[in-house]
């Protein structure tokens, strides 16, 4: 059973809702070791001085803030200690917005929030968020770090997703296709037909990590000492015109549906 990693209190006007936080994700990644190619010995990572190549011990390592490429300010552990935010259990809600206001780029890591003691208040908050169809922008301090998150409701429970910081997220403007590259109305129509012919609902359960399975099979085969066949990727056929490719794709998608 997954255990809570933190306890906090959501502050919303005159209401306080105690919550327990749980990681919402489980890592299923296949982890590899780094080996030396010629003798298969494990690889070690060392911290070295760049100018002399000499190894530096842990107690010698400091952090610095770079002002530019050649100037930095050295920060001693005591300096960094001063930057640690004061401890608190409060989860402060700054505002609520429609989910569409926040682009997907901001979302980093999701956590479930479960009720701490007062289940009535907890489920009242869930159901109020569900009714308003909003997300809350929240701030809190956890394990000596500041976090910004989006509070949402999912299947009757609260989910807090940590957000990236404003300086990390990039967006664009001013994209205008050159005349020769602008899609024509007829092409847009065909493309929309093709999109609608392969449209579906989002069903995450239908997506499996096929590659992970095949890598595991490869590892097992190699561990048994089997030889591995090398596949050579096929060359792609030269492309017809955009409109022709679209028409052929629509026809192929239709065939698939009938079959």
């Amino acid at each position: 059973m997954a255990r809570a990693i933190w306890k906090g209190v959501i502050e919303l006007g005159r209401h306080s809702v105690g919550v327990k936080m749980y990681s919402a994700v489980e890592d299923h990644t296949v982890h590899f070791h780094m080996l030396h190619r010629t003798d298969d010995a494990p690889v070690e990572q060392h911290i070295i001085r760049k100018d002399t190549g000499k190894e530096v011990g842990k107690e010698e390592i400091r952090k610095a803030f770079a002002l530019n490429k050649t100037t930095a300010v050295l920060l001693e552990p005591a300096d960094l200690e001063k930057l640690v935010p004061p401890e608190s259990r409060d989860i402060h809600l700054c505002r609520f917005v429609a989910p569409s206001v926040l682009s997907d780029q901001w979302y980093e890591r999701p956590y479930y929030l479960g009720p701490d003691t007062d289940e009535d208040s907890y489920f009242a908050l869930v159901q109020a968020i569900e009714r308003k169809k909003v997300i809350g922008i929240a701030r809190w301090v956890m394990r000596k770090k500041r976090y910004v998150g989006a509070l949402s409701a999912l299947n009757g429970y609260l989910v807090m997703s940590t957000l990236r910081r404003a300086d990390q997220v990039l967006s664009f403007s001013g994209v205008e296709p050159a005349k020769t590259a602008a899609p024509q109305a007829s092409e847009l129509k065909l493309a929309e037909q093709l999109v609608s012919s392969i449209s579906a609902d989002f069903e995450p359960e239908q997506w499996h990590n096929e590659y992970r399975k095949r890598v595991c099979q490869l590892i097992e085969a190699k561990a048994r000492g089997e030889k591995i066949d090398r596949h050579v990727p096929k060359k792609r056929a030269p492309q017809a015109s955009l409109a022709e490719s679209l028409r052929a794709s629509i026809a192929a998608a239709k065939e698939k549906k009938v079959a």
């Binding site: 060392h46 002002l67 922008i137 967006s171 999109v195």
Partner: protein, 332 residues
């Protein structure tokens, strides 16, 4: 797609200078029989507060790989990945073998279906990447972006990068395609895994009261100040104070980030995002960043201030809104 209503306050000319990001993969999006060559670029920049590694004396530090048997220094080319089986046996797997497992997946992102963006729960989104057109013709790229924006749908597909398969949603955002990696369903816990109490209907009166509180706090837009990096402000003050003292100012060469997530093994080439997109996609592309404070380096800031006062008054005015937004971030 009506997804980004917040307009980043990127009015100052400095804020739109190109962003340095990493180029990680080249491949082809296939959409029916249409194929679009693309380069995958990281879309998340390290935080401004990312610190660099130095030693006590202020010399730049770096990471080095060494063979545990021979104690010899190794380059990226000397490395190979290995997997330790449950029996404790180390199995070496070469890059060619990784590719041979699924050759088509290593080169293509096949768009297998188109789904409404709002159907993907927040919990699935993992990490965003930009896709820059890599072929001679950008027509198909523009066509796919325009079609997705018009239909409000995003494409789901998968591809393989460095020995891992990624499930992605291809999202069109203001004419630029993004590949947002998604978690697989089996990586997301269900409430049952935490033994959360059964869903219960809350007292109606209590729900109404909380709805009122939510209404009072509901706004039409985001405030970027609320999403700003508050650590950056505290760090800035500390750095400024130490800069004035002078003792801690150092001049190392070849600084390396203390926690650069993409580096060091085959982190990909660092490129200027705006330059790449201007060349490959559209000549007037601007890269916007929601937050970009004034430089922390006191000398640089003084130089910039002097430059600004020497120029026409209209230039001066452009710095005012930025100052205002910094004040807001202090209050949040």
């Amino acid at each position: 797609m009506p997804r980004r209503k917040h307009s980043p306050p990127a009015t100052a000319p400095e804020a739109t200078s190109g962003a340095a990001v990493r180029s990680l993969w080249s491949g082809t999006i296939t959409f029916g029989l249409v194929s679009i060559p693309v380069d995958l670029l990281s879309a998340v920049r390290p935080r401004q507060t990312a610190l660099k590694l130095v030693d006590k004396g202020g010399h730049a530090l770096g990471r080095q790989y060494r063979c545990s048997k021979e104690n010899k220094r190794l380059d990226n080319d000397d490395l190979v990945r290995g997997y330790e089986t449950e029996a404790g046996k180390m199995v070496e797997i070469t890059d060619a073998e990784f590719e041979s497992v699924a050759p088509e997946m290593s080169a293509d992102i096949e768009l297998r279906n188109f789904v409404p963006l709002q159907q993907i729960p927040i919990i699935y989104f993992q990490k965003p990447y930009f896709l820059a057109p890599a072929g001679k013709s950008v027509k198909a790229y523009h066509l796919l972006a325009a079609t997705m924006e018009r239909t409000g749908r995003v494409a789901i597909g998968s591809f393989v990068l460095r020995g891992h398969e990624y499930l992605v949603a291809i999202v069109a955002d203001n004419g630029v395609l993004r590949a947002d990696t998604l978690r697989y369903a089996d990586e997301i816990r269900t409430p049952g895994a935490m033994d959360l109490p059964k869903r219960a209907k809350a007292p109606a009166k209590k729900v109404d009261q909380i709805v009122k509180e939510i209404d009072e706090l509901t706004r039409g837009e985001l405030d970027v100040a609320e999403l700003a990096d508050q650590d950056a402000r505290a760090l800035q003050q500390l750095v400024e104070a130490k800069q004035k003292e002078g003792d801690s100012v150092i001049h190392p060469s070849g600084l390396e980030a203390a926690d650069d997530l993409e580096a060091p093994a085959g982190g990909g080439k660092v490129i200027d995002l705006m330059a790449v997109l201007r060349k490959s996609l559209s000549k007037n592309v601007r890269v916007n960043n929601a937050e970009s404070g004034p430089p922390i380096d006191l000398a640089e800031r003084r130089a910039r201030k002097q430059k600004a006062t020497a120029k026409s008054p209209s230039r001066k005015r452009s710095t005012t809104p930025r100052k205002a937004s910094r004040k807001r971030s202090g209050r949040a």
